[in-house]
Protein backbone atom coordinates (compact mmCIF):
# COMPACT_ATOMS: atom_id res chain seq x y z
CA UNK A 1 0.00 0.00 0.00
CA UNK A 2 2.56 2.59 -1.04
CA UNK A 3 -0.02 5.37 -1.62
CA UNK A 4 -2.01 4.73 1.53
CA UNK A 5 -1.84 7.93 3.66
CA UNK A 6 -1.70 5.99 6.94
CA UNK A 7 1.10 3.77 5.74
CA UNK A 8 2.91 6.81 4.33
CA UNK A 9 2.58 8.74 7.61
CA UNK A 10 3.86 5.82 9.65
CA UNK A 11 6.78 5.20 7.32
CA UNK A 12 7.67 8.87 7.28
CA UNK A 13 7.77 8.86 11.08
CA UNK A 14 9.79 5.64 11.04
CA UNK A 15 12.36 7.20 8.72
CA UNK A 16 12.66 10.28 10.94
CA UNK A 17 12.92 8.17 14.06
CA UNK A 18 15.61 5.99 12.53
CA UNK A 19 17.85 9.06 12.34
CA UNK A 20 17.63 9.33 16.13
CA UNK A 21 18.32 5.65 16.77
CA UNK A 22 21.65 4.84 18.39
CA UNK A 23 24.29 3.37 16.16
CA UNK A 24 24.56 -0.38 16.79
CA UNK A 25 27.54 -1.17 18.98
CA UNK A 26 29.17 -4.36 20.09
CA UNK A 27 27.78 -4.44 23.63
CA UNK A 28 25.35 -7.26 22.93
CA UNK A 29 28.01 -9.30 21.24
CA UNK A 30 30.35 -8.83 24.20
CA UNK A 31 27.60 -10.01 26.53
CA UNK A 32 27.13 -13.13 24.45
CA UNK A 33 30.85 -13.84 24.47
CA UNK A 34 30.97 -13.35 28.24
CA UNK A 35 28.10 -15.81 28.69
CA UNK A 36 29.83 -18.37 26.50
CA UNK A 37 33.12 -17.91 28.37
CA UNK A 38 31.34 -18.48 31.68
CA UNK A 39 29.75 -21.66 30.34
CA UNK A 40 33.08 -22.91 28.98
CA UNK A 41 34.82 -22.11 32.25
CA UNK A 42 32.20 -24.11 34.15
CA UNK A 43 32.61 -27.11 31.83
CA UNK A 44 36.41 -26.96 32.13
CA UNK A 45 36.12 -26.81 35.89
CA UNK A 46 33.86 -29.86 35.89
CA UNK A 47 36.28 -31.78 33.66
CA UNK A 48 39.17 -30.83 35.95
CA UNK A 49 37.45 -32.12 39.06
CA UNK A 50 36.39 -35.29 37.24
CA UNK A 51 39.98 -35.97 36.25
CA UNK A 52 41.23 -35.38 39.77
CA UNK A 53 38.62 -37.75 41.20
CA UNK A 54 39.55 -40.41 38.64
CA UNK A 55 43.24 -40.19 39.45
CA UNK A 56 42.57 -40.30 43.17
CA UNK A 57 40.48 -43.46 42.81
CA UNK A 58 43.18 -45.00 40.64
CA UNK A 59 45.84 -44.22 43.22
CA UNK A 60 43.77 -45.63 46.09
CA UNK A 61 42.99 -48.74 44.06
CA UNK A 62 46.67 -49.27 43.32
CA UNK A 63 47.60 -49.06 46.99
CA UNK A 64 44.80 -51.45 47.98
CA UNK A 65 45.62 -53.99 45.30
CA UNK A 66 49.36 -53.91 45.70
CA UNK A 67 50.50 -52.42 49.01
CA UNK A 68 54.01 -53.51 48.20
CA UNK A 69 53.94 -51.09 45.30
CA UNK A 70 53.18 -48.15 47.58
CA UNK A 71 56.07 -46.34 46.10
CA UNK A 72 54.39 -46.61 42.68
CA UNK A 73 51.41 -44.66 43.99
CA UNK A 74 53.63 -41.69 44.59
CA UNK A 75 53.55 -40.75 40.93
CA UNK A 76 49.73 -40.58 40.52
CA UNK A 77 49.41 -38.93 43.92
CA UNK A 78 51.91 -36.31 42.88
CA UNK A 79 49.89 -35.87 39.69
CA UNK A 80 46.71 -35.38 41.72
CA UNK A 81 48.49 -32.78 43.81
CA UNK A 82 49.70 -30.99 40.72
CA UNK A 83 46.26 -30.99 39.14
CA UNK A 84 44.71 -29.71 42.38
CA UNK A 85 46.99 -26.71 42.26
CA UNK A 86 44.94 -25.46 39.30
CA UNK A 87 47.87 -25.41 36.89
CA UNK A 88 46.02 -27.71 34.50
CA UNK A 89 43.20 -25.28 33.75
CA UNK A 90 44.32 -23.93 30.39
CA UNK A 91 41.68 -21.23 29.99
CA UNK A 92 41.70 -19.89 33.52
CA UNK A 93 44.44 -17.68 34.83
CA UNK A 94 44.82 -17.95 38.59
CA UNK A 95 45.83 -14.31 38.73
CA UNK A 96 43.19 -12.81 36.45
CA UNK A 97 40.31 -15.28 36.65
CA UNK A 98 38.27 -16.33 33.61
CA UNK A 99 39.13 -14.39 30.48
CA UNK A 100 35.82 -12.74 29.73
CA UNK A 101 35.18 -9.57 27.78
CA UNK A 102 33.00 -6.89 29.33
Amino acid sequence: MPNDPISAALRRDAALLLDLAPVPNAAAWHAVRAARARRLSWIMSLCGWGLRALLLVAAIGLVLLAPSLLLGAAVPLALVGWLSSGMCAPLVSRREGPRTVR
Binding site: I6, A9, L10, D13, L17, L20, A21, P22, W29, V32
Partner: protein, 164 residues
Protein backbone atom coordinates in the same frame (compact mmCIF):
# COMPACT_ATOMS: atom_id res chain seq x y z
CA UNK B 1 28.11 -18.99 8.02
CA UNK B 2 29.48 -19.14 11.59
CA UNK B 3 27.06 -18.32 14.40
CA UNK B 4 28.95 -15.23 15.56
CA UNK B 5 28.94 -13.77 12.04
CA UNK B 6 25.22 -14.46 11.65
CA UNK B 7 24.54 -12.77 14.97
CA UNK B 8 26.63 -9.74 14.05
CA UNK B 9 24.80 -9.35 10.73
CA UNK B 10 21.39 -9.85 12.30
CA UNK B 11 22.22 -7.33 15.01
CA UNK B 12 23.44 -4.73 12.54
CA UNK B 13 20.30 -5.04 10.43
CA UNK B 14 17.63 -5.11 13.15
CA UNK B 15 18.98 -3.28 16.21
CA UNK B 16 17.86 0.20 15.18
CA UNK B 17 14.47 -0.99 13.94
CA UNK B 18 13.86 -2.71 17.26
CA UNK B 19 14.88 0.44 19.17
CA UNK B 20 12.50 2.48 17.02
CA UNK B 21 9.63 0.05 17.70
CA UNK B 22 10.21 0.13 21.45
CA UNK B 23 10.35 3.92 21.50
CA UNK B 24 7.13 4.21 19.55
CA UNK B 25 5.18 1.88 21.83
CA UNK B 26 6.13 3.77 24.97
CA UNK B 27 9.69 3.05 26.14
CA UNK B 28 11.97 6.03 26.68
CA UNK B 29 15.17 6.16 24.66
CA UNK B 30 17.53 4.84 27.32
CA UNK B 31 15.22 2.04 28.34
CA UNK B 32 14.78 1.09 24.69
CA UNK B 33 18.56 0.82 24.29
CA UNK B 34 18.81 -1.47 27.31
CA UNK B 35 15.92 -3.62 26.15
CA UNK B 36 17.40 -3.95 22.67
CA UNK B 37 20.61 -5.30 24.18
CA UNK B 38 18.71 -7.70 26.44
CA UNK B 39 16.51 -8.87 23.60
CA UNK B 40 19.47 -9.67 21.35
CA UNK B 41 21.31 -11.55 24.08
CA UNK B 42 18.23 -13.65 24.81
CA UNK B 43 17.61 -14.17 21.13
CA UNK B 44 21.18 -15.36 20.54
CA UNK B 45 20.93 -17.86 23.39
CA UNK B 46 17.62 -19.25 22.12
CA UNK B 47 16.84 -21.70 19.32
CA UNK B 48 15.65 -18.72 17.26
CA UNK B 49 19.27 -17.94 16.39
CA UNK B 50 19.14 -20.95 14.06
CA UNK B 51 15.79 -20.12 12.46
CA UNK B 52 15.26 -18.54 9.07
CA UNK B 53 15.25 -14.74 8.91
CA UNK B 54 11.51 -13.79 8.99
CA UNK B 55 10.70 -16.15 11.85
CA UNK B 56 13.81 -15.18 13.79
CA UNK B 57 12.96 -11.49 13.36
CA UNK B 58 9.40 -11.99 14.60
CA UNK B 59 10.75 -13.84 17.64
CA UNK B 60 13.16 -10.98 18.35
CA UNK B 61 10.24 -8.54 18.44
CA UNK B 62 8.33 -10.95 20.67
CA UNK B 63 11.21 -11.04 23.15
CA UNK B 64 11.51 -7.25 23.15
CA UNK B 65 7.76 -6.80 23.66
CA UNK B 66 7.79 -9.20 26.61
CA UNK B 67 10.83 -7.50 28.11
CA UNK B 68 9.07 -4.13 27.94
CA UNK B 69 5.89 -5.59 29.43
CA UNK B 70 7.93 -7.18 32.23
CA UNK B 71 9.69 -3.90 32.87
CA UNK B 72 6.38 -2.06 33.14
CA UNK B 73 5.07 -4.70 35.51
CA UNK B 74 8.17 -4.39 37.66
CA UNK B 75 7.64 -0.65 37.75
CA UNK B 76 4.02 -1.26 38.72
CA UNK B 77 3.03 1.20 36.07
CA UNK B 78 0.55 -1.12 34.46
CA UNK B 79 -0.95 -4.56 34.58
CA UNK B 80 -2.48 -4.61 31.13
CA UNK B 81 -1.43 -2.96 27.92
CA UNK B 82 -4.56 -0.89 27.72
CA UNK B 83 -4.14 0.50 31.23
CA UNK B 84 -1.12 2.69 30.58
CA UNK B 85 -3.17 5.87 30.39
CA UNK B 86 -2.63 9.01 28.41
CA UNK B 87 1.09 9.45 28.85
CA UNK B 88 2.92 11.54 26.32
CA UNK B 89 4.92 9.61 23.72
CA UNK B 90 8.55 9.34 24.68
CA UNK B 91 10.03 10.66 21.46
CA UNK B 92 7.92 13.17 19.58
CA UNK B 93 9.25 14.40 16.25
CA UNK B 94 7.87 17.74 15.17
CA UNK B 95 8.25 17.07 11.47
CA UNK B 96 6.49 13.71 11.70
CA UNK B 97 2.89 13.58 10.43
CA UNK B 98 2.00 11.40 13.41
CA UNK B 99 2.55 14.26 15.82
CA UNK B 100 0.71 16.95 13.93
CA UNK B 101 -2.55 17.29 15.82
CA UNK B 102 -1.26 14.72 18.33
CA UNK B 103 -2.74 11.89 16.27
CA UNK B 104 -0.33 9.27 17.64
CA UNK B 105 -0.91 10.22 21.26
CA UNK B 106 -4.66 9.83 20.76
CA UNK B 107 -4.25 6.14 19.98
CA UNK B 108 -4.10 3.51 22.71
CA UNK B 109 -0.74 1.76 23.23
CA UNK B 110 -2.17 -1.44 21.77
CA UNK B 111 -3.32 0.39 18.65
CA UNK B 112 0.08 2.06 18.32
CA UNK B 113 1.79 -1.30 18.63
CA UNK B 114 -0.41 -3.03 16.07
CA UNK B 115 -0.20 -0.22 13.52
CA UNK B 116 3.57 -0.04 13.86
CA UNK B 117 4.10 -3.77 13.47
CA UNK B 118 1.74 -3.97 10.51
CA UNK B 119 2.69 -0.89 8.49
CA UNK B 120 6.29 -0.15 9.44
CA UNK B 121 7.71 -3.58 10.18
CA UNK B 122 5.27 -5.25 7.77
CA UNK B 123 4.65 -8.33 9.85
CA UNK B 124 1.78 -10.62 8.86
CA UNK B 125 -1.29 -10.87 11.08
CA UNK B 126 -0.13 -14.25 12.38
CA UNK B 127 3.29 -12.87 13.28
CA UNK B 128 1.72 -9.87 15.02
CA UNK B 129 -0.55 -12.24 16.92
CA UNK B 130 2.50 -14.14 18.20
CA UNK B 131 4.36 -10.97 19.12
CA UNK B 132 1.41 -9.44 20.97
CA UNK B 133 -0.01 -12.62 22.47
CA UNK B 134 -3.35 -12.18 20.69
CA UNK B 135 -5.32 -14.27 18.23
CA UNK B 136 -5.08 -13.48 14.52
CA UNK B 137 -8.78 -12.62 14.43
CA UNK B 138 -8.33 -10.12 17.26
CA UNK B 139 -5.36 -8.58 15.48
CA UNK B 140 -7.43 -8.12 12.36
CA UNK B 141 -10.26 -6.41 14.24
CA UNK B 142 -8.03 -4.23 16.45
CA UNK B 143 -5.88 -3.23 13.51
CA UNK B 144 -8.90 -2.25 11.49
CA UNK B 145 -10.20 -0.10 14.34
CA UNK B 146 -6.79 1.48 14.93
CA UNK B 147 -6.44 2.21 11.26
CA UNK B 148 -9.88 3.85 11.14
CA UNK B 149 -9.04 6.02 14.17
CA UNK B 150 -5.68 7.08 12.75
CA UNK B 151 -7.27 7.84 9.38
CA UNK B 152 -9.82 10.08 11.09
CA UNK B 153 -7.10 11.81 13.13
CA UNK B 154 -4.88 12.37 10.11
CA UNK B 155 -7.75 13.51 7.92
CA UNK B 156 -7.70 17.23 8.85
CA UNK B 157 -4.00 17.45 8.07
CA UNK B 158 -4.53 15.63 4.78
CA UNK B 159 -7.36 17.96 3.83
CA UNK B 160 -5.26 20.98 4.80
CA UNK B 161 -2.41 19.67 2.70
CA UNK B 162 -4.78 19.13 -0.21
CA UNK B 163 -6.17 22.66 0.15
CA UNK B 164 -2.69 24.06 0.05
Amino acid sequence: MPAYRRFADFYAVHARALWRYLVRIGADRTLAEDLVQDAFVRWSLSRAAEWEEPRARAYLFTIATRLLTDWWRRQRRQVAWDAIGDEAPSCEIEASPLFQGRAWAALSPRQQQLLWLAYVEEFSHDEIADICGLSSASVRVLLSRGRAILARLLEPETETDDAE
